[in-house]
């Protein structure tokens, strides 16, 4: 598929540069836009903040994700599918996974789990978990002494954050998932604001997490994954709100010091999606007439 359009033709169709850009992006496969955005995040994160801690990690995560996708799709369907999804998973894993010491195995096992989950954990031929979310949640629960999630900042300069948020929101709009992102953000702010009020805690710390890069990856690449969201705009918004609600419950339990695996306190958003997302998808698929579906 070609996304190139002669500039002269566009200039004739629309004199406004923003409109021209918008029209141009509308002709691009959404998966390329998402891959482009995650690449932008990766490049900014590395060039400005050296965030992913070594190119070996990137090569391993990308390599394992893409090799696993190629092998399993060939085994499953007799052909190698488009590797865009594996590419996004590999980059997300590289950015999000922070291992103890120089351990590289989390990138290998994480990459394998991410992709193979699409082929193993299926219902009606569709996978239920966002691959990266599944892999990281599994690693956090299985190996909390060796794996943590990105806790870095994209610095504090507003420009970097603004670039990522702007591109993220534009692409989310273009891909048709902006309502999911905004519903989650609104729910997060309202629910955690209420939580802070109820507990008599200062507001800033409760709302602060959403300003970090982990959440940027979460709202742009995980909860909006077209393959694992439910069908229908309204239902998608309800699920996004439910994810925020579940996260708030985990935070409340942490506030109260309720004993639970450490991942629920350290990374409640990821765990909430890992629980709510597949249940919602499963229910959605159950109520939808069965049809042939394929993971990709």
């Amino acid at each position: 598929m070609s996304d190139a359009t002669p500039a002269t033709g566009l200039a004739t169709a629309s004199p406004n540069p923003v409109s021209r850009l918008w029209q141009r992006t509308s002709r691009i496969d959404p998966r390329y836009l998402i891959a482009g955005l995650v690449t932008l995040v990766l490049v900014v994160a590395q060039l400005r903040y050296h965030m992913f801690g070594g190119y070996t990690r990137l090569v391993l995560a990308l390599g394992v994700c893409m090799a696993t996708e190629a092998a399993l799709s060939w085994f499953d369907r007799g052909r190698v599918v488009n590797l865009q999804s594996a590419y996004i998973s590999g980059i997300s894993l590289t950015l999000l996974t922070k291992p103890q010491g120089g351990a590289l195995w989390p990138f290998v096992i994480g990459g394998f789990l991410a992709i193979s989950s699409k082929y193993v954990l299926r219902y009606r031929e569709q996978h239920l978990w966002n691959p990266t979310n599944f892999a990281i949640s599994a690693l956090l629960l299985a190996a909390p002494s060796k794996v943590a999630v990105l806790s870095h900042q994209f610095g504090n300069d507003l420009v970097t954050n603004l670039v990522i948020w702007t591109f993220g929101l534009i692409i989310a709009k273009r891909v048709g998932v902006l309502h999911i992102t905004l519903t989650y953000l609104a729910s997060f702010l309202v629910l955690n604001g209420l939580r802070a009020l109820a507990l008599g805690q200062p507001l800033f710390p409760e709302l602060a997490p959403v300003t970090g890069p982990m959440y940027q990856l979460f709202v742009f690449f995980m909860i909006t994954d077209p393959r694992t969201v439910v069908k229908g705009r309204r239902k998608q918004m309800i699920v996004a709100a439910l994810i925020a609600l579940t996260e708030t419950v985990f935070r409340l339990l942490s506030d109260r010091g309720v004993p639970m695996p450490i991942a629920f306190s350290a990374d409640p958003a990821l765990l909430s999606l890992a629980i709510v997302g597949p249940i919602a998808k499963w229910l959605d698929l159950r109520r939808t007439p069965a049809r042939a579906g394929t993971p990709s």
Binding site: Y49, Q100, N156, A208, A266
Partner: protein, 574 residues
């Protein structure tokens, strides 16, 4: 497909418990460390400070530093003495004179070095010793959250405050200082690190005092370099020399890291990357990347040592790790400046994760010819059932401009933050790696360790370990190395160089063993080691050659020195 999928999850669970095969052997470490604190008559207990009530919510965090220890033979009797600093108004610092029989007596009051924590003056955060006036006696600089104080050693028993005269009456919220002779003029210069900017923590006019980022903060205090003019006077040359980092520096160390004969300055910065200032022949320092910019962490301390017996000084920088929340990992940076102008981080496994690690030092604890690493750990030990990590996780990844204001932080209350962590003792097994043998050798305290210093306190060829613990008692661990191993130690006396010989580098060659050490002008976190470089030799009964590179530039070679003793080497006058 389900089988390998499940196998991958099970493998992750298995690897969570540790490596399937450990190359390094933890059995027979070849030494023990025995808690001899009480027996030695050391009863020092550090007290943490209290600050302005405006920052009461985060006071446990802000007041979590100040336990320091430095080693100096202040009375010139050839027995290393110990100086501990305290951090609460009215609480005395302690100067423990080594009586030479395994016991110590606190003579700080008589020496005039006890009552240094007073309103208006500030509270001690550490001290660093060096003969700044070349009279053959070790003087001491005390750094504070407050004013610097320089004390001249009058007669080996009493000290006089010469701060004003020296031109050092400056308010610096400092956690570290080192002596070095950056221009090789034979006089010790002084580098002072700054943490908080120059605010009075007891009379705050704003609560916007914290770091503006958790990884890229540069709104800390400004580090200062003072040039020793002679005659007991110093001049602030920070800007001229280009070393005024404002990156919340917690520790500094200095040595000639690239072999050009001029000492560099290596900084461990909290909330930011480490920094290396390259010495441009004493005329200026240049901030070089050297591979350090690649990781922004929370540098707590830096120590220099020959980790792999290459005749080079490598750097070990401690950081923060907490299960489930963060793995910043300590850095063991192999010095490859001569080849590639970079350090290469080779820390992995146990040596990378010591918890919330603070002071660390290299020392050959078993005298086998390879350096061990002692690392103190733990930040705030309060209520065991409350952890501040959950609160920290909410703000650590966020845009921290919100949290530059201390009043926006979640209140600490009585929560612990990486509390009750044990110290680590990493045994060096060469190519097989490092293995933690703390419990095996007798180190099992759970204090909030800060400063670690090493010294041969009994002049017997063993490296004892002294740990200053925050708001808790200090500990002296007596080293008992394998008695069949040989050793050699050097007392260096500078003539053209500074008398303390700080910055001199000693390399020994004994058969296949090559090892290098630098005479310590301050390193680790808020600490300073014995000035006498110690080398274990293993079963080697002789040393082929000893090379001393003096700060003056003089190079002295000694062949076949006697072993199993402390040898005095005086710098040739010409």
């Amino acid at each position: 497909m389900a089988v390998p999928f499940m196998a991958a999850i099970l493998l992750a669970m298995r690897l969570d418990r540790g490596p399937i095969r450990t190359a390094a052997d933890a059995t027979r470490p070849g030494f023990t460390l025995r808690d001899a604190t009480a027996q030695a008559g050391i009863h020092f207990v550090h007290k943490r400070p209290s600050f302005d009530q405006k920052i009461a919510g985060v006071e446990p965090h802000v007041a979590a530093l100040g336990a320091a220890v430095s080693v100096a033979d202040f009375d010139g009797d050839d027995w290393p003495d110990l100086y501990f600093t305290n951090s609460r108004f009215g609480e005395p610092n302690a100067l423990y004179r080594n009586k030479g029989d395994g016991t110590f007596e606190d003579v700080a009051a008589a020496a005039g070095l006890a009552d240094l924590n007073r309103p208006g003056l500030g509270v001690s955060m550490g001290a660093v010793w060096g003969d700044m006036d070349g009279d053959g006696r070790e003087d001491v600089l005390v750094y504070r959250y407050g004013y610097l104080s320089l004390f001249r050693n009058v007669d080996g028993h009493r000290f006089e405050d010469v701060t004003e005269r020296a031109g050092l009456h400056r308010w610096v919220n400092s956690n570290g200082a080192i002596w070095l002779d950056y221009d090789r003029d034979g006089k010790l210069d002084l580098y002072v690190t700054a943490y908080f900017r120059d605010i009075d923590l007891w009379h705050l006019t704003t609560t916007r005092i914290m770091h503006k980022s958790f990884e890229y903060a540069d709104n800390g205090g400004k580090n200062l370099l003072f040039h020793n003019l002679g005659g007991g006077k110093f001049e602030d040359v920070t800007d001229r020399m280009g070393v005024g980092s404002t990156r919340w520096t917690l520790a500094a160390a200095s040595a000639d890291l690239d072999g050009d004969g001029w000492p560099e300055i290596y900084l461990a910065n909290d909330y930011g990357p480490e920094e290396l200032y390259h010495n441009e022949q004493g005329k200026r320092f240049t901030l070089v990347t050297a591979g350090l910019e690649a990781e922004s962490k929370s540098g707590m301390s830096v120590t220099l040592g020959d980790a792999f017996n290459r005749g080079r000084l490598d750097a070990y920088v401690t950081n923060i790790s907490e299960r489930g929340y963060i793995f910043q990992n300590n850095n063991l940076r192999v010095n490859e400046l001569r080849e590639s102008r970079r350090f290469r981080n080779v820390a992995e496994g146990a040596v990378a994760d010591a918890g919330w690690a603070w002071g660390a030092q290299f020392g050959d604890l078993n005298n086998d010819g390879a350096n061990e690493l002692f690392v103190a750990n733990g930040f705030i030990s309060a209520d065991r059932n409350q952890s501040y990590w959950y609160a920290m996780s909410k703000i650590a990844g966020a845009n921290a401009r919100f949290f530059e204001d201390a009043s926006t932080w979640p209140a600490f209350g009585n929560a612990s933050l990486s509390g009750y962590e044990r110290s680590r003792v990493y045994l060096n097994r060469g190519v097989a790696g490092w293995v933690d043998v703390a419990d095996r050798v007798g180190v099992n305290d759970l204090y909030d360790g800060r400063a670690v210093a090493m010294a041969d306190l009994s002049n017997r060829g063993a490296v004892d370990v002294i740990v200053a613990n925050q708001n808790q008692p200090a500990i002296l661990y007596r080293d008992q190395p394998d008695s069949t191993n040989h050793w050699i130690e050097f007392k260096l006396v500078g003539t053209r160089s500074n008398r303390s010989a700080i910055g001199a580098e000693v390399t020994i060659e004994a058969g296949d063993l090559v090892q290098r050490r630098v005479v310590d002008g301050g390193s680790g976190f808020a600490s300073q080691n014995d000035r006498r470089p110690h080398f274990g030799l293993g079963k080697r009964e002789w040393v082929d050659r000893v090379t001393v590179e003096w700060p003056s530039g003089a190079r002295q070679v000694i062949s076949r020195p006697p072993t199993d003793r402390i040898m005095t080497i005086t710098e040739p006058v010409r």
